[in-house]
């Protein structure tokens, strides 16, 4: 559950989020986001085009960003019951997520930002790894916490 800015400490860790990137999950994300780039959904074209140097479809970067952000929002809420709220998500993608992967994302509070009563926020550093342990993406997530 959300906690207060006064209580939270750097190093606070979040439960991991595990997300399948099987083709049905990628297909659903394509329709939900309306990002219909064929590199995500058309196996034949992906095999010919090899956009990432591999003959397979890959998950959307924005799907990875969603997984990264969910580490924080599943624990504290998009809008927390005590008034917290998501502030920003800043993500970088380090390796394409091949179809069929399972991604695990974890996060820890990195910084406390003292903006004053009612304006304080924390930065959570989140990283996501594929089943081999390779880093596939990382994010800084800003979250407003009640005093």
């Amino acid at each position: 559950m959300p906690i207060s800015f006064a209580e939270i400490q750097a190093g606070h860790s979040f439960p991991p989020v595990v997300q399948s990137y099987a083709q049905p999950a990628i297909d659903h994300y394509a329709l939900a986001s309306l990002d219909m780039n064929p590199v995500h959904t058309n196996e034949d074209w992906a095999a010919r085009a090899k956009v990432f140097g591999i003959p397979e479809t890959v998950g959307h970067g924005m799907m990875t960003m969603s997984t990264l952000a969910s580490v924080v929002t599943r624990a504290w809420g998009v809008i927390g019951k005590n008034g917290g709220s998501i502030r920003f998500v800043d993500a970088k993608f380090t390796k394409p997520v091949k179809v069929g992967e399972t991604v695990t994302a974890t996060g820890k509070v990195k910084q406390k930002h003292y903006f004053g009563p009612g304006k304080n926020w924390v930065q959570v550093d989140v990283e996501a790894r594929d089943a081999t342990g390779d880093l596939i993406g990382l994010a800084e997530v800003g979250y407003n916490l009640p005093d």
Binding site: Y29, L34, P38, W45, A49, V78
Partner: protein
């Protein structure tokens, strides 16, 4: 290029029913890296009316299980807004729907594009019934390790001009239309 028919099973919303799913149609009109001009700005082709089903389907696709995000009846009673809470990356749906197929920012649809980094700032939650207009500004254009990067800033405002969210959207792109053609014709 035909879109795999298996995708039909995921069509849930009115927007999905009418959205052109074949990004290869009209690629000749997408803005390219070499055509883009930093500072150029304009409105997206379409506005986006926020609906419960749009938010619900995005949340489902992200694997969310919180009833405040996937159970409309529960959200009506318990959500701080009285509505489903949207995932912070939901602006993706607004952008792809709104930008359309020609003009500034359409490089977001480019075959062969790669996604290096993104930043989304949330100002306040979107609410059902809001009509969202998206302003696109070409924010940066650069090369790094020989790769062409393009960045645009998307400002999402409701019908009262209230800023709801901002997205700094970056892609590594095929630099020229000829480069795009190699992927479009693959």
């Amino acid at each position: 290029m035909p879109v795999p028919s298996r995708l039909d099973r995921y069509v849930e919303t009115e927007k999905q029913k009418h959205f052109s799913r074949d990004f290869m149609i009209g690629w000749e009109r997408y803005e390219t890296w070499d055509e883009a001009t930093v500072g150029q700005s304009g409105l997206a082709q379409r506005t986006f009316e926020i609906t419960e089903e749009d938010i619900l389907d995005y949340n489902w696709a992200c694997g969310e299980t919180d009833p405040l995000m996937i159970d409309p009846a529960f959200a009506r009673q318990h959500s701080p807004t009285g509505e489903l809470l949207q995932h912070p990356v939901f602006v993706t749906t607004i952008a792809f729907y709104s930008l359309g197929e020609k003009g500034i920012g359409t490089w977001i649809r480019t075959p062969g594009a790669r996604n290096p980094q993104q930043r989304i700032e949330i100002v306040e939650p979107f609410r059902y019934g809001e009509i969202i207009s998206t302003t696109i500004t070409t924010a940066d254009k650069f090369t790094q390790r020989g790769k062409p990067y393009l960045q645009m800033l998307l400002d999402f405002r409701n019908e009262s001009s209230v800023l709801k969210a901002r997205w700094w959207c970056s892609l590594i792109l095929p630099a020229t239309r000829a480069d795009v053609a190699r992927f479009a014709n693959a």
